[in-house]
């Protein structure tokens, strides 16, 4: 809402970029904390930060419905699940030295860096200075959401219908597996 209200102008891009930069830095920091933190709860909270940041980025990308859904589903539901998971498995709430594989980083780091190298290489080469069109016309506000919902209920109706069954199955199965008997 905040950013979508702003009229589009080239100088705004600067602000957007700055905003992006700040949020991105925050997200990366959070993400790193998720994977290296020694405290499970801290990791979970960092994940919240990443999620929120992502939501903000979605707004920057003029996808407000997704952004809202992100907040609702991830921060609202998934994170709660995670925290329940942490508690139900009686993980230590404080620091825990037993979260990582021994020498796990020695394997993980090269792979991650290799992937990063490959990905950034192709992305930079492929989308060198491609710009996202400044105009968010037709994408902002209620009209955009209508379009989105039209899409969901016409073109992507079948997957949507399937998705409901996926969730049903996940719930049924999850209950069976998780319940104590």
């Amino acid at each position: 809402m905040l950013l979508s209200a702003v009229t589009i102008a080239t100088d705004i891009e600067v602000a957007q970029t700055i905003g992006f930069g700040i949020i991105a830095a925050m997200m990366i920091a959070g993400a790193l904390n998720v994977v290296i933190s020694k405290n499970v709860v801290h990791a979970a909270l960092s994940l919240v930060m990443v999620m929120a940041g992502a939501s903000a980025q979605y707004l920057l990308l003029a996808a407000e419905f997704v952004a809202v859904t992100q907040v609702l589903v991830y921060i609202g539901a998934v994170m709660v699940l995670f925290l329940f998971g942490v508690m139900l498995t009686r993980a230590k709430l404080g620091r825990d030295t037993d979260l990582n594989n021994e020498k796990g980083w020695m394997l993980a780091l090269p792979i991650a860096l290799l992937l990063l190298g490959v990905m950034s290489f192709v992305l930079i080469k492929g989308f060198d200075d491609t710009r996202i069109s400044g105009s968010g016309e037709g994408k902002i506000g209620g009209a955009a959401n209508v379009l989105l919902s039209d899409r969901i209920f016409s073109t992507y109706a079948l997957p949507f219908w399937a998705l409901s069954f996926v969730l049903l199955a996940a719930v049924i199965g999850g209950i069976v597996l998780a319940r104590k008997d």
């Binding site: 796990g104 394997l107 993980a108 792979i111 290799l114 992937l115 190298g117 490959v118 192709v122």
Partner: protein, 694 residues
């Protein structure tokens, strides 16, 4: 052309059928199948005689060269190659037919007595009948395939008959040795036939001979190799040096077998083959080395004559003496063929068959009646001339023939070979021939002396003693034995007159000559005409024969007979020194003495050495080759097959399993590892493909 000539195929067919009959019902026949065999042989004999008669008529009616009588049916055909089966009758074939049928008949009659009561009486007659069939098939062969058929059937029967008493290992060993050695030669026959086919594009003997004689072939070199290959087969079959060692061992078989197969008929198969394909050998093996024009056949034949004759001196076993003698005589035949005396060689086949067969049968008769189945001349014989007069007479007649005493059959054939060698410029072989004659006489004299003269020893002494006990002076073998002996003895004396050069009687030559296939006298591959007989050229040979007789007799008397001889004195002294007359009686000491005489004697060192060479080098080579083959088999099997080839296969299996094992650590069970693998593979795959594609 004549019924008998047209139906000559019946001659082998009847014994063949008889063989089958004997196998099937022989055991149930009153005489164990022998009657079938004899009947079939008689039938074959009659048919052969008829064929011979008609052939002579045929020759007489055609002036000049008589065409061979061919009667063929297609056996099978593959593409252009047609192989027939049937009969190819010419002088050579007719002569062989008659010979084989005749001798077979006599030997079978002889055998009814000789092997009476044998546990495999029926088998014996089956085999010997089959042998005759095989030999007749070979003799009649119009092509190489049929010849090979007969050839191998003879080999089989030889194996069966040598090993007739297979309960004893020695006999079966001898049978195997015979078969293998001959088989080694047969390699040459197989390859040789293949070569002939590639040279002449046919397997018909008539056509091959014609083409070879007329020079109608592509490569003389190939023809030479073909002849060499075929000759290797002849060496094997006819016991020529260096494949002669099986023949003496083959004496392990019953004596009639030795007389039929291993002296008179089968072993001349090789000679027959050379005679049959004479143009091939004559043209192919005509070598010219260092300006000396000679034929390989003659070389081998000549070597065999001497080597075998030398060996015959040191044998104690009478059959072995005769066996070496056979080898030596076969050498003569080969030598005759080699020096170009085709008729003489073939004639020698003819006469030799009678007297050598007779000699063997005599030996058998002696063993059967006089020496209690022993063939050891020194141990179990001696002094039998009075008690077995018929046998003795036959023996003497045959021995005379073998030694080439004038006016007895052997003289006419052997002398012509020697004469031809001289006449055709084979000087060395002339010498070989007369030296051979000398040695022949010498060893035969020794054998005769040991068997029939002197004092009866061992089993013979026992036999003589029993006779005295029964107040009889003679006890010869029963009639089935003596009748053949008498017939053969007479033939040994008189058969030679069919081709008696001194009297200018050349019937045999006239009747058989058509089979040579080569022109006489002129043309590039022509044969020389046989020499005119003259007593002067025969004289050196005769002198040597006489000398051989004399020397040998003296030596024998010195060792075994005369009490006044200085050599005898030696033994006297030994007795005096050592104590007692036991020395005389005891065979062992006699043997020792005999050995000493041999060792210190003059004539013997060479043959001793030759025998040693034979036993320790040539025979050892044969045995070693056999052993080495087996050993090689062992090694190849053990190391190459089981370790290498099999190992490679099993190894690859093991490697596969090993590789599987090596890969298992990937499957560590750890999710993180799996994840790392998944992402890592995706990253690497992405990287590689991105790099490749951009």
């Amino acid at each position: 052309m004549g019924w008998f000539l047209e139906h000559a195929w019946l001659i082998p067919a009847i014994p063949g059928a008889a063989f089958a009959l004997i196998i099937l019902i022989g055991k149930r026949m009153p005489r164990g199948g022998s009657e079938i065999g004899i009947a079939s042989m008689l039938a074959a004999l009659v048919l052969s005689a008829g064929a011979a008669y008609q052939w002579i008529e045929h020759v007489n009616s055609s002036d000049g060269e008589a065409e061979a009588v061919l009667n063929r049916w297609e056996w099978f055909r593959i593409g252009d190659l047609k192989v027939s089966i049937g009969s190819h009758l010419d002088g050579l074939a007719v002569m062989m037919l008659l010979l084989v049928a005749f001798i077979s008949t006599l030997v079978q009659i002889y055998s009814t007595e000789y092997v009476r009561g044998d546990r495999r009486y029926t088998h014996y007659f089956a085999s010997i009948t089959l042998f005759s069939a095989g030999m007749l098939v070979m003799v009649l062969a119009p092509n190489m395939v049929q010849l090979l058929l007969g050839w191998e059937i003879m080999g089989l029967c030889s194996f069966l008959l040598i090993g007739h008493w297979w309960e004893e290992r020695v006999n079966s060993e001898a049978a195997l040795k015979a078969f293998w050695t001959v088989r080694v030669g047969d390699m040459g026959l197989l390859v040789g036939i293949a070569m002939l086919l590639s040279i002449f594009h046919t397997l018909e003997i008539g056509e091959i001979n014609e083409a070879a004689a007329s020079g109608d072939f592509d490569s003389k070199r190939l023809l030479m190799w073909a002849a060499v290959a075929l000759f290797i087969a002849c060496i094997g079959k006819s016991g020529q040096f260096p494949l002669h060692t099986w023949l003496p061992d083959a004496m392990a078989g019953p004596t009639p077998v030795s007389s039929l197969l291993h002296s008179s008929t089968m072993v001349v198969g090789g000679v027959f083959l050379v005679a049959r394909l004479y143009p091939v050998f004559h043209v192919g093996l005509d070598m010219n080395i260092l300006g000396q024009h000679f034929n390989l056949i003659a070389v081998i034949g000549g070597i065999t004559v001497l080597i075998a004759a030398g060996l015959a001196f040191v044998q104690n076993d009478i059959k072995r003496v005769l066996a070496y003698s056979t080898v030596s005589q076969l050498g003569y035949m080969m030598m005759g063929l080699g020096v170009g005396a085709w008729t003489a060689a073939v004639f020698h086949i003819f006469t030799h068959a009678f007297f050598k067969c007779c000699l063997f049968l005599c030996a058998g008769s002696v063993a059967h009646t006089g020496s209690h189945h022993s063939f050891d001349m020194k141990k179990d014989m001696g002094g039998l001339r009075k008690s077995m007069p018929i046998t003795f007479a036959a023996w003497i007649a045959s021995t005379l023939a073998l030694c080439g005493i004038p006016f007895v059959s052997g003289f006419f054939s052997k002398d012509e070979i020697i004469d031809s060698a001289k006449h055709n410029d084979y000087k060395v072989f002339y010498l070989v021939g007369i030296i051979g004659a000398f040695m022949t006489t010498a060893y035969m004299t020794r054998a005769t002396y040991l068997t029939f003269f002197g004092k009866a020893r061992g089993a013979a002494a026992h036999f003589v003693h029993e006779l005295e006990h029964e107040h009889k002076t003679t006890h010869d073998s029963p009639w089935p034995i003596t009748v053949p002996l008498v017939i053969l003895g007479l033939l040994a004396i008189f058969s030679g007159y069919l081709n008696a050069a001194p009297f200018k009687w050349h019937w045999f030559e006239r009747w058989t000559e058509s089979a040579i296939g080569l022109p006489l006298g002129e043309g590039i591959f022509a044969l020389p005409h046989p020499p005119e007989f003259s007593w002067t050229s025969a004289a050196p040979g005769l002198v040597l024969v006489a000398a051989g007789f004399a020397v040998s007799l003296l030596l024998c008397r010195a060792v075994f007979g005369s009490e006044t001889s200085p050599l005898r004195g030696l033994t006297e002294r030994n007795i005096a020194l050592r104590a007692g007359h036991k020395f005389l009686v005891n065979k062992y000491y006699l043997d020792a003495l005999y050995e000493k005489v041999i060792v210190h004697g003059i004539a013997y060192p060479i043959s001793r050495a030759a025998y040693w060479t034979n036993q320790h080098i040539i025979d050892a080579v044969v045995n070693t080759v056999g052993k080495a083959g087996r050993r090689t088999g062992d090694l190849v099997y053990k190391y190459i097959d089981q370790l290498l080839v099999d190992g490679a296969v099993n190894g690859s299996g093991t490697t596969a399993r090993g590789a599987g094992g090596a890969l298992q650590p990937v499957q560590s069970g750890k999710v993180n590892m799996y994840g790392a693998l998944l992402f890592g593979a995706a990253a690497v795959g992405g990287l590689v493909l991105v790099l490749v594609n951009s």
